[in-house]
Amino acid sequence: MATAMKQRPAETDLIQSKENQQQNMVLHVKNLEIFYGEKRAVNGISMDIEKNSVTALIGPSGCGKSTFLRSINRMNDLIPGARAEGEIIYDDLNILSEQINVVALRKEIGMVFQKPNPFPKSIYDNITHALKFAGIRKKSKLDEIVEESLQKAALWEEVKDRLHKSALSLSGGQQQRLCIARTIAMKPTVMLLDEPSSALDPISNAKVEDLIVELKKDYSIIIVTHNMQQASRISDKTAFFLSGDLIEYDITDTIFTNPSVKKTEEYISGRFG
């Protein structure tokens, strides 16, 4: 084996490359601990989330991945007894700070859930509902955002002739893409997806997967999935959680071909979980 030492970069290069790395990150998680009452669900994890990439969170049920995901836009605030310690830095602000305006935060960091949950309203109103709350009233502006969001969610061609029909008349896969369009309409920076295609048929699942890969051009995406193949297909980096710990976090290709930690290998190859 070649044993030649690699030439070491100069110290300034190292500092610069570290700065570049920092700039490529959208979130910095530092010593994050999350509790439900006395029970600690996340045990002091630290990780950086890259901009314009798909980060997959995997692990068996109860490992803390969804708890972590929900903490990123403060959804855990709704659970009595839930509290978080540590930091999640976004745009130089600690998301977990009490001073954070949670409504404003959720505009920047949107979320899509496992089960499609459109409002029992028209397709058009589903998208404009939050926009109106945010003060956008002009019809032409709303029309523009509706089209743009549906285009980005790869749903426009399928629904453009029935925008004022009920969203509940759409198929499950279309409803989920509508929920993604609804999130896109708020022009978020980060999109959190909690098993977004686990309730969908294979074709709808494939469409949502294609969409996620397409969306990372404009957004930073964090996805919780129980589907290993989905994680390996669509994500750039994968984080493996177990019992509240972050066991391994690496480039997805590495995690699925040659992970460093035995537990990761056992999990991704279906030996437990």
């Binding site: 290993m228 193949q229 071909t257 290998e265 991704i268 190859s269 279906g270």
Partner: protein, 219 residues
Amino acid sequence: MNTRSKFDSHLKELKDMLMEMARKSENAIKESINALINQDIDKSNEIIQNDTIIDDLEHEINNKAIILIAKESPVARDLRKIIVALKISSEVERIADNAVNIAKSTVHIGKEKHIKEIVDIPIMMNLALEMLSDSLNAFLSEDVELAKTCAKKDDKVDEMYGKLIKELMGYVQKYPDHINQINQLAFVCRYIERIADHSTNIGEHVIYLVTGERYDLNA
């Protein structure tokens, strides 16, 4: 705790099939050299015919590997086990082809008296067989260190090959009526040298299987 015992037993079967194929190829090589020394045409023809058994085994291994990839979605080491089984089966198949090539050379030489006693070819063959045996045992026990020993022996085989070819070419002028035999013996040396190369490749595949990283044993 093992939730994929069925899959694990399929992986073990794949390994067993590969070892069976490898042992058959190893035997074919040994027999082909004995037939060469003893000028045993019947045995050589038998080796040529029996190659289809090894070819069939390779197809079975490939089919099983393809089905496991399609149905089990293997990742990491599981995936490497399957990929390496495909690669090693191909090396082993080519090793068996060289047994056939040696047998064909024996047929071509026929009953013509050997120009000299065949001594060095079996020595070179034993070295190549040791390499094959080492690489297969390395595969069986997933032993990286054993796999690496192939490289050293391959250097010796290459050295012997160079020496033997030079010697054989020296006989061309001395035995102008035996050019065919000299040619065939030179071919046999080349076949043995190839067997050693394929054994080295098996060693490299074993290292990849265990470490997940490509390794060039001839570097």
